[in-house]
Amino acid sequence: MSRRLLHGTFASAVLALSGCAALHGPQSSAMGNGVESALIGRLFDAFLWVAVAVYLFVLAYLALAARRGRLNRQRGDGIQGEPPGGAEPGWHLGLVTFASVTALILFGLALATWFTDRAIARSAAGKAISVEVIGHQWWWEVRYHDPVAGRELRTANELVIPAGANVKVSLSSPDVIHSLWIPNLAGKQDLIPGRTSDLNLKVPRPGEFRAQCAEFCGLQHAKMALPVSVKGPADFAGWYNAGLATPPIPTGGLAFAGYSLFIGRQCASCHNIAGTPASGQVAPDLSHIASRKTIAAGALPMSTANLDRWIADPQGVKPGNQMPQVPLTDAERGAVVAYLETLK
């Protein structure tokens, strides 16, 4: 009975460990794409192997104890009732040894933790690019601070950083507590109203990743994702300059009709589009919406059909979010979508 239980546990443990190899993904902490996540991954592995060893020791001890106890029972020996005081010196020594070894192992793990912490801190030293991420219910505002005047860039629901550089992300929130977690790159950090905290990123190679809010932040906590793109330095500069450019106002056709609707209807009171009268600050900046990969903080992949669906029924796609349903005819909505798609 207890033996069957032990065998079952052992088999599943082996199965589980072999499963570790398949933890890949755009949002996986086992990937180690960033300097910090790689260091944490190494530490995690150390903890994991110690845990496996300790677990196997306990299982073996349990199995042997059960076996030995059973033998005692069959033979009618073993201790019964209350053992006389101090009659088990061997076991007392065993207990002291066990406790000491446990303490030593823990001390080793604490040291490993400390060194990893130091290594992470060291990796972030030096000149850094400064990015501000502000968590809102339920989207991400992103600001790039450049010491050169006029080169401050604002965007939303996308984080683009250069490979190989130190990036210092400062985090804050005007409403509730959020947490920025890019598992492939680094550990998570909370965004707390009234405080700012920092997250340091350093990613050796370009890649596409996904971040998600990790602190429960209300109704749509589940749909608060942030696509993260790590670009080579040249690509990053290209993206940055494109982001600084004012998108051209359409001169005619469907896109112009859409532009007029955007400015004339409710849209402009919440959203900002650079170079236009639309300068609302309470909703995501749409100056280059068409270049993003997702709509509404990862709620939908970017496509013409999805833009249309989102504008037609924002409360159906992401119930409870702050975007109201603006009354537009199908044709009007088509025009707005056509305009938004020019905002590359």
Binding site: A22, L23, L109, A110, D117
Partner: protein
Amino acid sequence: MSDGKASERTYLRDGPDLTGAPLHDKLLATWQDRPGFWGWAGSVDHKSIGRRYLVTAFVFLSLGGVLALLMRSQLASSNLHLLGPDRYNQIFTMHGTTMMFLFAVPVMDAMAIYLVPLMVGTRNLAFPRLNAFSWWMYVAGGSMLWIAFVLNVGPDAGWFSYVPLAGPEFSPGKRVDFWAQMVTFTEVAALAVAVSITATILKGRAPGMTLARTPLFVWAMLVVSLMVIFSMPAIALASAMLMADRMVGTQFFNSYEYGDSLLWQHMFWFFGHPEVYIIFLPATGFVSEIVQTFTGRQVFGHTAVVLSLVATGLLAFGLWVHHMFATGLPRMGYAFYTAASMAVSVPSGIQIFCWLATIWTGRPRFTLPMLWVVAFIVTFVLGGLTGVMLASVPVDLQVHDTFFVVAHFHYVLIGGAVFPLLGAITYWFPKFTGRMMNERVGRIAFWIAVPAFHLTFFPMHFLGIMGMPRRVYTYPGGMGWDTLNLVASIGAFVFAAGVVVFIGNVLWSARNGEPAGDDPWGAPGLEWATTSPPQPYNFPHQPVVLDATPLWNPERAVARGLRVEDREVVLTTVFEARPDLREPSPVPTLWPMIAAAATTVLFVSSIFAPWAVVIGSVPVAIALIAWFWPKDRSHEGEPVVD
């Protein structure tokens, strides 16, 4: 024992002249509850209250379990629409709140209320009326929360209610108020029980039951009760501050008005982490008792186990910040909490070492309760090891608030507390009901529940590592999470089936089980020295304890001389358990129920109008004054034992 002053009237006492059936009749007349509803409602018998506490806790377990199944149905695959976000958020909040506040803590209280007086060999708890009051408060608080939930005003800010999300601006309406007030109810109930248990253990132990001879479950409950007394005030204060922020415009947690949102987290976890050990330590007590009985020997390292309980109780208060590693507090401070969080695994390790050494050197019988102990070790150790991982700040920053943590604490709470609890119920079932639980059906339940538990929660470790956050009502496809979630959902339903078989076995066996004698397992504790189920007066004569395993000692001793026509118990000294006083024990009364009703009116109406606190306190005061109305004992002699 003498009769005190000579002028005093003489009382009928048990002794060589009054024993056996005549004594039984007299004691029954003194200690029995009156029949009918009012007799039940006014009962101050710890067994009656313990039983109803236990049944209530299992009702809440079932309700919380249904919520878990709803969540697992919603998460079985990506992009499901079984539940909307609003309903889902209420459900996960209710699941956590119900399981932590309305099941896990009360169920351990329930076992202690029933067992502690029997295990220490006394007739009733200290402060039995307070204990009766506590059950009414618990039922009222739990019912209020569930009624609110059914009416769609269930809390939806998580069982931890982090501000500012739970504050007035981001959670308008009454949902969070019901949560905060439910906390008030349960903390009153838990504090009342803790006080009763502490006093019973310190002063009510049978003569001769020195602290060194006190059973390990009783030790665990002493530590736990003291932990409740020290940790509950933090949450009491925090929930009162939250209510004040929400209702009367204070700004304790509003960082834009010089408040601080992290203050809530400190106060919540200063209670919330000890809470985990408040649930876990009684379970270690169950394990110690079960292992002792079924190995036929005293637990190896009795002193080491007691010291481990105490050490865990102390360390538990130094760990709360490990719930807050991602908040960006100073790194230097984190190191302390990492060390403390790791250190707390040492006493748990010592306990496991001692239990296994006991099995090794004893003559174990692998009965059903022992099987649950084995499942406990196999499961809990895994949860403990992932706990060590979570103590490491960098590792925690990755897996914090993910399904890895969900896996971790279900391993610790179900593996560490519920498995021993199910073992304990199987073990003490004959004492509770006078009948044995069906072994065959019990084994079926065991073999369904334990593997299904692992099937449910083991995959969640991987989900967490693969980036799945907690508390999401849905998730997109293409993340590699679908299969593991489906496995977990299937496991959850099978696990629930196992628990249903267990509960079915309890219900069936209570009526149809094989009759059990006083001591069906050959156990050494005092609770087995009386009938199954125990008589209302517990023991005909006051037991006297000569060693740590009294029923294994061929020599039995009792003391005589307690009054039989009045409720009277013996009080002993705290350390040596020398007879100290004869103390009258309260008779049944409806005042605790009335006081609880008045308090309930105050608490519930204060959700809707702050002035209810002032006006509602008048009936509460009246009820308490009536409850504590002084009794004239001037005609009686001083109840002193020579």
